[in-house]
Amino acid sequence: MPVIRFEGDSFVCNDGESVLECLRRNGREIPFSCLSGVCGTCILRAIEGIPPSTSQASLKDTLRAQGYFLSCSCRPTSDMEVALGDGVGARVPAVLTAIEPLNPTVVRVRARAEKPFDYRAGQFASLLRHDGLARTYSLASVPGIDPELEFHVARVPGGAMSEWLHRDAVPGMRIELLGPRGDCFYVPGNPDQPLFLLGTGTGLAPLYGILRDAIHQGHRGPIHLFQGGLTRDGLYLVDELREIAPAHANVAYHPCVRDADPADPLHGAIDEVAQRIVPNLKGWRVYLCGHPDMVTMMRKKTFLAGASMKEIFADAFIPSPKVS
């Protein structure tokens, strides 16, 4: 009978027993609700072993790819090591290699991990300064393309980490990385599906990674990238992105500036521009990154425009509390 390892203990799973039943029989409190593989409350992650496909049937692809499964409908046929939702990763030492401005308020920070740091383009990781100060940023780099990790950091007035990265940090300084986490990333396997990428501010960072990852992995379906800013200065990497589009016939790039002069060709609120260019999102995969209010609004708009809930991936950038 298969053995289930959980938080350092091993339990024998009886014939026909689910992982959830096995753990609960052994006094482990795993939250659950419907017990029929639907509601998702009892979600766990396989660290070792492959969960049966029935236990992943109702999950998003990105969660499946990370080994998540519903423990109530997982009747294992071989040994597994499982953990609650967000497994705690180890800290990875890294060195800052470059800090350069992308626009008046955003810098590109590059770092080289000194131990293997496996991630997918679009996920996020925490940066830890020598004194333990930690902030989470999205990865803009792509494994297999970029030898170094890349983050886009907006300067937050009074923000401890962003002020340090903008003002004081220099290449050669040591940091640590924690993570990666997040389910906002490209999943191969459906190369003809149209992709809708929309981000404001440094919400571009994960999308810049996802876009290049999709191209790198041979995505053939249309890819529309919408980048939004309040002013022209708020956009960045515009020239680089404009060069990607003509080289790949399936890629369209739409920079939008909300407060631009109406005569400016980039003038337009990002949600309106997106709705005009792609009015029907049935069958599309949607990625939304940036300000939490924008993400909440666009989640609803893209869902009502026909995108399936399971196909909407969002990353809301929630600011950290200020340190006085």
């Binding site: 609700s33 017990l35 639907v38 109702s58 909440t296 609803k300 869902f303």
Partner: protein, 123 residues
């Protein structure tokens, strides 16, 4: 005779229905104010649990959890007309999925059995 849940197609039917149902609810001006600003992923999970129950599938709803889960909506002015609107959206969803009227009626009967608890009227 198989159960309502089996006749509908079980978990696959819930998966097929949840997007359509939730889209109807959000587009329904009679009730969508109750869903303003809620986390859509969490809400979708609740909609799935609700549909599973209404489809006659396994669930662990109780009268108590129904009352507690809707108490804040009563304070916002929820009444029987809103319950009726949700039932209508549910029926519309099933019809769109090609479910026959006899099964639709059975689902509405199961959903309707929660009315007194949802409205906080039962003891």
């Amino acid at each position: 005779m198989s159960s309502v849940y089996e006749q509908l197609g079980g978990q696959a039917a819930v998966e097929a229905a949840v997007d359509i149902f939730y889209r109807h609810v959000l587009n329904d001006d009679r009730i969508n104010r109750f869903f303003e600003g809620v986390d859509m992923d969490r809400q979708a999970a609740k909609q799935k649990a609700f549909l599973t129950m209404a489809f006659g599938g396994p669930h662990n709803y109780t009268g108590k959890s129904m009352r507690e889960g809707h108490a804040h909506l009563l304070k916002l002015g929820m009444n029987d007309s809103h319950f009726d609107a949700v039932a209508e959206d549910l029926a519309k969803t099933l019809t769109e999925l090609g479910v026959g009227q006899p099964l639709v009626d059975q689902v509405l009967a199961i959903a309707g059995s929660t009315r007194e608890d949802v409205m906080g009227r039962s003891a």
